[in-house]
Symmetry: C2
Subunit: 305 residues, 2 copies
């Protein structure tokens, strides 16, 4: 059963209080794929880049067992570019530039042999495109989707249609509040699930993540990182770890979903330790498991004797 | 071994987006005592009120086994009054009025028979007064202390002196950032522990609480309350549950301290469900234990099979 990953690939110019990178590898599909690659293979990426997309980035993805058969390379086209600047506390950022370029006319086409994909991760792109992907698929079993405030505000109707067709929505706390028009996160979660979202994950950055299903609420802690170098891609790395682990284990029970949330948090913690995708490029599975266990140690407590 | 609780008793006028109460029972020592009273008895309260302090509030405390032998009632004096207004999201509030009244000249005097108290909870008052309390005590075993941004900014030197003399500091996330001059909470915690704080607890409201000791970091989830009526006293209720449980069990191990943090969170969750102290006035121990177990269910996950 294949895992399909749809989203953006881009060249990011990112400034933090500590440093700056120019035209680094970025994009939601990139981070999701690299993160998921530590759990399962092959991954099938659907996306678009221009002719200027560096060969070394193609190689990096291929080295991580990412099948790029569904990657459109537009002749003479320019790759999507994003530039952002993080504030002192790294929790807020300003977008300095968004150049859609080849992304502007992106029409995701799912290759015939991937239409029966059972696990699908829709990275943060226009909900219209996310729906287009689902329309081409033949009865997927498990669809995870990400979105952002830009689409919640600008394409609400399309997003609401999409939400009834996915199994899991992953958003951050401010997006959850915006989507539900409700400041209380737990109430907001209830409202969002009533929109037709079966499983909701709310990422809270330095405060961890929450998982809401019909039956459970699970609260995962944040990894105690004292040094965050670049928060870009944290959410996508989370999604990649989450769906990668579920695809590996083929177990969609609530108990396993909790573990998937912790593996998602684990991958996000590796991501933000380095600039761009560097934190996801070379991790041993042993380190991933060690960090998973650290999450467990941090959150475990027993009943009184 | 007695448990000594020092702090304010006041009359609070509180407005939230939902309702308003006038001259309701408030004050740090009040919330700490009521909360701790569910775990251990007797509690010895040190504080000051004016002649206008309602008899029914005295009775309420006495009904919760709070020994008021150390409560000074100033003849002709007026009780401390505080008035605040919570914003829409209940996470921020404006202080509309602070009338110190009898608190202005408060000199905490520890009765002779309580000078050997081994467990002490210093509620949020002027660090000069908190130090005065410690100066009168004969070798306390376990001192928990709370403070707030007002003292961090206004009496930093006195506060820093105090911190080297307590075992546990309980503050919220914004206070931790302010005290450490550091936006990253985990780094801030390290800096604060280097100031001489043996055990640090950072309360994060809707995001739970963190416990830092020499050896462990423990992350407790928040209780998924969909309706918060009045956040006033949440932090004090946390402190009361924390020290009340530790005093009851007389076990200061890291494992038991984790449980104490969850009992603290449990009591804070009961507190904010109602206005003023109402949420702490009549809880069965069974309900407290049930909620403790809900925290456990929310945060528990197992390693893969």
């Amino acid at each position: 059963m294949s895992l399909l990953i749809v989203g953006s690939l881009g060249l990011d110019t990112v400034a933090t209080p500590f440093s700056k990178v120019v035209d680094a590898l970025g994009g939601s599909a990139t981070y999701i794929s690299l993160s998921a690659s530590y759990f399962t293979a092959p991954l099938h990426l659907i996306g678009v880049v221009g002719e200027d997309f560096p060969k070394e980035y193609i190689k990096l993805l291929e080295d991580h067992n990412v099948d790029l058969g569904g990657l459109q390379i537009v002749e003479g086209g320019k790759t999507f570019r994003w530039s952002g600047k993080y504030h002192y506390d790294l929790n807020t950022r300003d977008t300095l530039l968004t150049e859609l370029n080849v992304f502007e006319s992106f029409n995701p086409i799912i290759p015939e042999q991937l239409k029966k994909s059972k696990y699908v991760c829709l990275g943060n792109i226009d909900p219209v495109l996310q729906i287009k992907v689902l329309d081409q698929l033949d009865n997927p079993r498990f669809v995870v989707c990400d979105t952002m405030n830009y689409w919640i505000e600008g394409k609400k109707d399309e997003l609401l249609k999409l939400l009834t067709r996915v199994n899991v929505l992953i958003i951050n706390d401010s997006e959850a509040r915006l989507l539900a028009h409700e400041p209380n996160l737990f109430k907001a979660a209830k409202i969002i699930r009533e929109l037709g979202v079966e499983i909701l994950i709310i990422k809270k950055g330095e405060h961890g993540a929450l998982l809401f299903t019909e039956d459970i609420i699970f609260s995962a802690p944040a990894y105690p990182l004292e040094m965050i170098n670049d928060p870009t891609g944290a959410g996508d790395s989370f999604a990649g770890g989450f769906i990668g682990y579920l695809h590996k284990t083929q177990d969609l029970s609530a108990e396993n979903m909790k573990r998937a949330v912790v593996y998602g948090s684990t991958m996000a913690s590796f991501c933000v330790e380095e600039f761009s995708t560097q934190g996801l490029e070379n991790i041993s599975y042993l380190r991933i498991q060690d960090r998973f266990r650290e999450f467990q140690t941090m959150s475990k407590f027993d009943e009184e004797n």
